[in-house]
Amino acid sequence: MPGPDNHQLRSATISVLVDNESGVLARVIGLFSGRGYNIDSLTVAPVDDARGQSRINVVTSGTEMVIEQIKAQLERLVPVHRVADLTREGAHVAREMALVKVLGTGDARVESLRIADSFRARVVDTTIESFVFELTGATDKLDAFIELMRPLGLAEVSRTGVAAIARGSRTI
């Protein structure tokens, strides 16, 4: 087993199952900031009330060595049950949701609605001069949609960050 390649950067979607206790998110975030790791996206929410567990999904990037280090560092946090590198452990689905506010009238407004339709975005709020679109999908799909809205009156974006899960019968 040769050591991991220390030059090539890769992105990793890491899911962490943790005890839902106060300070646990601070431990995880503090680990990333304190050791200089990147956080490209972060989501956290309780997933199992009976067991008192939350799931943190982190999208990070680094060399293979750094990503292995991130996983090892996460694993040794006391309230951490399981660390899964979804990018490495087989196929997974990753989705995020965005709420996108677009202001405009006339042609731009019509065009934004047309594009939203082709992206299967839903209109969740409307006024005479505004739309709020709700769009769910992979990060790059959301990026593309937001870019298209930019010249059409893009005013505000709120994104959830990535939620991810392994495909098939595998569980964390």
Binding site: S22, Q73, R76
Partner: protein, 592 residues
């Protein structure tokens, strides 16, 4: 259990400590922890040592822990009590020392209100501890205390903090007995036999092996050091220690190369550079050890045994990774070595030893002591004499140090034959560590000879603990190598900053003899080489705490030295050797 039958939180806390085998607590009282002090007043099972500063309490607990293998316990109040403890906690984290630190906290209903002596202690100490807890419910108290001890001592040991709001200490709380397992924190201790066999085969095929051993073997208990010594002797391989690993392999053994790294020996560092197989045990490839990473052990296949998976492949990629307890891994490796039918390449090993002996012949730690009466004392000579005198002692000898040149000289010149006898701040490099650490060692080993090899600058950082020594009649010997400079700073300024000694000279040092006297201790002073032996003799013979102020050559530098950003084979030897000192690169200059 009825509420009436329950004890107060403070009483439950003490009962939990007692059930964890705690016999001594290092602490300092304050408003938030008064209920605990009240409970301490009413019992005799746990002894409280009143320190003079909370940082001293943590270092004392570290000294206690490192010299006994048990968990050291600290008790401090909220706010400033907790913040004063932070340096000690980080020190324990960096050096993997098991400590449980109890901090007082304002009552739960005042948390977040900027109450008097309130601090966000768990927030502040999160990156300075292995884990920390804020107890918000009385029902959790006993469980949390037991869990804290389990976490502190399990896996890679470290400091664990428990923040205790005052109302939790006063209110009734149920008691639950200690736990031996944990739902999530279950570090792997049993090494993988497949990896052990691969490692044994790699070692059998080695032509230029080196065994590189760190503090993890100390933490694995004295049996691990004994197993290491047997294994290294069985293989005939050379062995080097990190600063934290000193004592795991006997310094007097011919297979010992001395310490490696920035101020390691010539033979240890060149052996690392020339090795074809490296066996690292309980060591973490710290930057002080590796020098320039790109040039570290360039030809070696590497085997790494460590209980902490995050230490493996952190900075140096390895070929065989073995996660587990060092003692079990060494035993397993020895068994795999015996089972592996392949012969050892004795001829290659003999050639390797001839090469190592050539490097050894440089005698890289050589110094010249002028023995003329009135001559100035070389710091290395002072440590050598101290070592010789202590060897003649019937007592068990424990050495602590402060941080700086004296620390490196102690590591180089004081031979350690057994583990747990050497307490120094390796990872964090905390000036002011040695005196309180020695205090903790002396509390744990009342009949032993405990010496803080100190520098005059470092020792002043926690000099107030002389008061603690006096109060508990702890006969710690403080052996100050007094060069009037922050010597390591001065050395770097000389080598890297054009001898511009910016702020590294201590003007107006105290009279240490009078200072000892003021703290009810004995003060001694040696100013010239002819006075040294008498001072050491008198110090060792004294039943009291002693400060021995040894005036040493203020211009002496600590060599050998791997300059920042250089490789093992680019080390600088001292003025005793024909020196082809290599310049330090700009890249090296930014490193510390």
């Amino acid at each position: 259990m009825s509420a009436e039958a329950m004890q107060s939180g403070a009483e439950v806390l003490l009962r939990a400590l007692k059930d964890q085998g705690v016999d001594v607590v290092f602490g300092y009282p304050g408003g938030a922890v008064l209920p605990i002090y009240d409970a301490i007043f009413n019992q005799n099972a746990i002894r409280h040592i009143l320190v003079r500063h909370e940082q001293g309490a943590v270092h004392a607990a570290e000294g206690y822990a490192r010299s006994t293998g048990k968990v050291g316990v600290v008790l401090v109040t909220s706010g400033p009590g907790a913040t004063n403890a932070v340096t000690g906690l980080l020190d324990a984290l960096m050096d993997s020392v098991p400590v449980v630190c109890l901090t007082g906290q304002v009552p739960t209903h005042l948390i977040g209100n900027d109450a008097f002596q309130e601090a966000d202690t768990t927030g502040i100490t999160r990156p300075a501890t292995k884990h920390n807890y804020l107890v918000k419910r009385s029902a959790d108290l006993a469980r949390v205390v037991h869990e804290a001890f389990y976490v502190a001592r399990s896996g890679r040991p470290g400091p664990v903090l428990i923040d205790l709001p005052k109302d939790i200490l006063i209110g009734r709380a149920p008691y639950t007995p200690p736990v031996t397992a944990h739902a999530t924190y279950r570090p792997r201790t049993e090494p993988d036999p497949v990896q052990l066999r691969r490692a044994a085969a790699m070692l059998k095929a080695a032509k230029r092996p080196v065994v590189y051993v760190g503090g993890g073997v100390v933490n694995a208990g004295p049996d691990a050091s004994a197993a290491l010594t047997r294994f290294v002797r069985e293989t005939g391989f050379p062995c080097t220690n990190t600063l934290m690993g000193l004592g795991t392999f006997p310094a007097s053994d011919p297979q010992f190369l001395g310490m490696l790294g920035m101020h390691g020996t010539y033979e240890a560092n060149l052996a690392m550079h020339g090795a074809d197989v490296l066996l690292a045990i309980g060591a973490r490839f710290d930057d002080r050890v590796t020098g320039r990473l790109a040039a570290f052990c360039p030809d070696a296949r590497k085997i790494h045994i460590d209980i902490d998976p995050s230490s493996i492949n952190k900075t140096v990629p390895v070929d065989v990774a073995i996660v587990g307890d060092a003692g079990r891994a060494i035993a397993g490796l020895a068994a795999a070595w015996a089972e592996d039918a392949a012969p050892v390449d004795r001829a290659a090993l003999a050639t390797w030893w001839r090469q190592i002996d050539e490097w050894r012949a440089k005698d890289c730690l050589r110094f010249t002591q002028d023995m003329t009466p009135g001559a100035i004392i070389k710091p290395q000579y002072a440590i050598r004499r101290l070592h010789e005198f202590t060897r003649a002692q019937a007592k068990d000898v424990f050495i602590t140090t402060e941080v700086g040149q004296h620390q490196m000289w102690a590591a180089q010149h004081f031979g350690f034959e057994r583990p747990n006898r050497w307490m120094t701040s390796g990872g964090l490099g905390t000036m002011g560590y040695g005196l309180p650490a020695a205090m903790g060692v002396q509390v744990a080993h009342p009949d032993a000879l405990v010496i803080d090899i100190a520098g005059e600058a470092s020792v002043l950082m926690n000099i107030q603990e002389m008061g603690t020594l006096a109060q508990y009649r702890l006969p710690v010997k403080v052996f100050i190598l007094n060069n009037q400079y922050m010597g390591m700073i001065r050395q770097w300024q000389e080598l890297l900053h054009g001898s511009r000694y910016s702020e590294s000279y201590s003007n107006a040092l105290p009279d240490f003899v009078k200072l000892a006297d003021a703290f009810h201790a004995t003060g001694l002073r040696a100013e010239t080489v002819d006075q040294l032996d008498d001072v050491i003799r008198e110090m060792l013979a004294s039943p009291r705490a002693v400060i021995a102020d040894i005036a040493v050559d203020p211009k002496e530098n600590c060599f050998p030295m791997i300059p920042s950003g250089a490789a093992h084979n680019e080390m600088i030897l001292g003025p005793e050797h024909e020196d082809e000192a290599r310049g330090i690169t700009d890249e090296g200059l930014v490193l510390v």
